[in-house]
Symmetry: C2
Subunit: 127 residues, 2 copies
């Protein structure tokens, strides 16, 4: 088989990794339709669980993810996609990576380790 196995699950988790830096940017999900669109367009298209529809990453912010290479795991139920993150930020909070909070054992608050690239209020304007 050459690709993920959607027969086990309608939605599979997808890890987006920055090709250049190796930073893990985010985790989201794809259904088979989102996967097919991603292959066809060369831009990452997820399936939004909260909105129950295709989520063309960057459709609002412009921060699309260009596909560089795609990998699937030993169980064929998870994808790893190396991307070129346009705009430099994957996270809707304006950080380069969604994983911008590091757990600090024994502390009440996490440490913010990520770089804030944009101000969400400027990018996602009220309509």
């Amino acid at each position: 088989m050459n690709g993920p196995d959607f027969s086990k699950s309608d939605l599979i988790p997808v890890i987006a990794q920055d090709e250049a830096s190796g930073d893990v940017l985010m985790l989201a999900y794809m259904n088979e339709e989102a996967y097919a669109e991603t292959l066809k367009t060369g831009r990452v298209c997820y399936f939004s669980r909260s909105r129950s529809r295709l989520w063309r990453k960057g459709e609002e912010s412009g921060n699309v993810q260009e596909v560089k290479s795609i990998y699937f795991d030993c169980d064929a139920d998870t994808l790893l996609i190396k991307v070129n993150q346009i705009g430099g930020a994957a996270c809707h909070e304006g950080y380069r990576s969604c994983f911008f909070r590091q757990l600090v054992p024994g502390q009440a608050e996490p440490r913010v380790v990520g770089e804030r690239v944009f101000d969400p209020k400027e990018v996602y304007k009220q309509k």
Copy 2:
């Protein structure tokens, strides 16, 4: 909040990344108990969905994952753990990473890109 939010889901996906190389090694799941054990022991403990029990990574193969740092994402429903992968291989098929197969568009078979570190037949002997 300082950590993942298990109130939204009993199981959350966990990305294990090699701290030294930046390679994404695998994706598995934790429930709250597995997460607590991981924090306590400093070794990654997942929850196996197929076996419905705690899965102390490396319990059979010896290839444990030492926790170096832990991050959680903007929705607090995914973890990223940077690890030191003992034995050099995370995948039960003997590869360094579970993502050892690269999709090759238009080809019937994927390209094997990973490095095989051990022979599974030697490590997981029949009991």
